[in-house]
Symmetry: C2
Subunit: 99 residues, 2 copies
DNA sequence: TAAAAGCACTTTGAGATTAAAAGTAAACAG
DNA sequence: CTGTTTACTTTTAATCTCAAAGTGCTTTTA
């Protein structure tokens, strides 16, 4: 049996990124402000985590408008979903080992 | 209901530290090599994570000998146990929200 | 209607964190 | 003895995180 710790994804170590991912897992689309509200981080901080996730191909960014206001939404990609599920599985295995 | 993400402990974000903690949760004492074997990190990396955990009061370090060889063992403290359990609870809550 | 304020991010740069390389001291091997 | 290994520790380099400042609109206000 291999160690579940090795299966944990480094990208998801960060609380902020974990929060973003769980938000996009349960919602088709989330926008910047919803995420900011949910996770309680500064703009810059949130943006940089979003960028990392995007660069890893886990997040799809759609820049649009609501009326005349810009509105950027974030959605999970197939690969993001796969990676995140694997991470959660590893987490669950690890936790189970503790009870 | 407040966001479980806020309840996650920053100290336990790191995979390495998560691994160390889960090892000391289930074993009374673990030594450096066992941890190194388990987590697959370099010595220096492991040592620095152990130090962080020790500095946070989550780990108790006992320097001893096996025969003539030095043997340093690590054990979880009461406070480490409490903190780690809280972290796991938050993790579980977050995961549950996803299913 | 020009200036000020707000919004939704992005960029920047400093500080913190992580990781690996190098170092050290004791023990063991030949 | 001399060289090598073991078990860490220290140092240094790389990476990451975060918040402050900046950008390009849009909206408000005087």
């Amino acid at each position: 049996m291999k160690n579940p710790i090795e299966q944990l994804n480094k990208v998801f170590d960060s609380r902020v990124r974990l929060g973003i991912m769980s938000a996009v897992m349960v919602n088709d689309e989330v926008n910047f402000n919803e995420l900011k509200e949910l996770i309680q981080v500064t703009d810059g901080n949130l943006a940089s985590h979003l960028k990392t996730l995007e660069e890893n191909g886990y997040l799809l960014v759609k820049k649009g408008f609501i009326g005349r206001k810009t509105n950027t939404t974030y959605a999970i990609t197939k690969s993001g979903e796969k990676a995140f599920k694997a991470h959660i599985d590893a987490l669950e295995k690890m936790i189970k080992g503790l009870h």
